[in-house]
Amino acid sequence: MSNYSPSTIARIGDLNPKRGIVCRTATVNNTAVFVATAVNIFKITGKIRIVSLDYEAISEFGAQASVPRWQFVSTTPAVALTNISAASASNSAMALGSRVVFQGTALNTAPAIDAAPGISPKPANAMDIGSEGGALHLAIDADVAQTSGTSVFTLCYLPLTDGAAAEALM
């Protein structure tokens, strides 16, 4: 059994297709990301496979009935804002440690909210997004704004085209 350094543990994660490369945001204020319009969270270059995509409550959410859904807007080529999930159930007062996990099954599949904080079963499917040589943003639209709380967004992905990559925008 190995005693790896943290950087080696991270590289092992990068190489495993059940995780892929991790792209995370910093801890962000909910007031900045969960609003009534789409907010760009990640920038995607080329085409990637989303292995998992979620956000975690770093502190408890406000008591507003936000129902976030994931969307993409392609800038190259230009493609209008498109849903890649249905709206989740309400995130009102979501407890610290809870995660909302993109399921990937269909463009109208709702994300799943952890039944218990800090325990997230595998999403049902992966989803490929983007195009050869293209660029897009993964965005979230909460419909109802949050007034408090903080979150971290985590994207685990595999590159599918030459030079494909993801970048957190915050």
Partner: protein, 172 residues
């Protein structure tokens, strides 16, 4: 066909099936004690990890007692009460050396498999994330229904880190 050294084979295993940590060999009287049925800490989790595999492997045949086992996760920093990450297994009575209780991962109420021999016929395909970003938690097991009077074994965890700097160590 390449002729890899043992250490290279180990590294390939870590990359393809997740990083492996295991407990010391524990007496069945500790792991499979349903009265009072207190949790047995298996692994301490720092940050958020992705569990690729989790099982208990028998090193000394278990006694003929119909004990059942399930796994839980609890966050100790911040404090969040324990929740099941599996249902209870079928009986572990008379499990032979090399037999395994295999967590399935599909859902928090999915029962682990019992392999009656060293051959596990259904390799786990699902995974589950546990732990909080920058938190600390424990993967533990709990025995119900009966207590084993003899036998021994150890727990294996195969994982990938998700949050920055995440890792897991054996709790005993």
């Amino acid at each position: 066909m390449t002729n890899y050294s043992a250490s290279t084979i180990d590294r390939i295993g870590d990359i393809t099936r997740g990083i492996h940590v295991k407990t010391s060999i524990l007496p069945a009287t500790t792991v499979f004690d349903h009265d009072p049925g207190t949790k047995v800490d298996n692994f301490t989790v720092y940050g958020r990890i992705r569990i690729i595999g989790l099982n208990f492997e028998v090193t000394t045949a278990l006694s003929n007692n119909a004990a059942l086992l399930k796994w839980q996760f609890e966050s100790t920093t911040p404090v969040i009460a324990a929740s099941d990450i599996s249902a209870v297994s079928l009986t572990v009575a008379q499990m032979v050396v090399g037999g395994r209780i295999m967590w399935r991962g599909t859902a928090v109420d999915t029962a682990p498999d019992i392999s009656a021999t060293q051959a596990s016929i259904a390799v786990v395909q699902d995974w589950m994330d546990v732990g909080l970003t920058a938190g600390v938690g424990i993967v533990s097991s709990i025995c119900t229904t009966a207590t084993c009077t003899s036998g021994a074994g150890f727990f294996n965890l195969y994982y990938l880190p998700i949050s920055d700097g995440a890792y897991a160590v054996a709790a005993q």
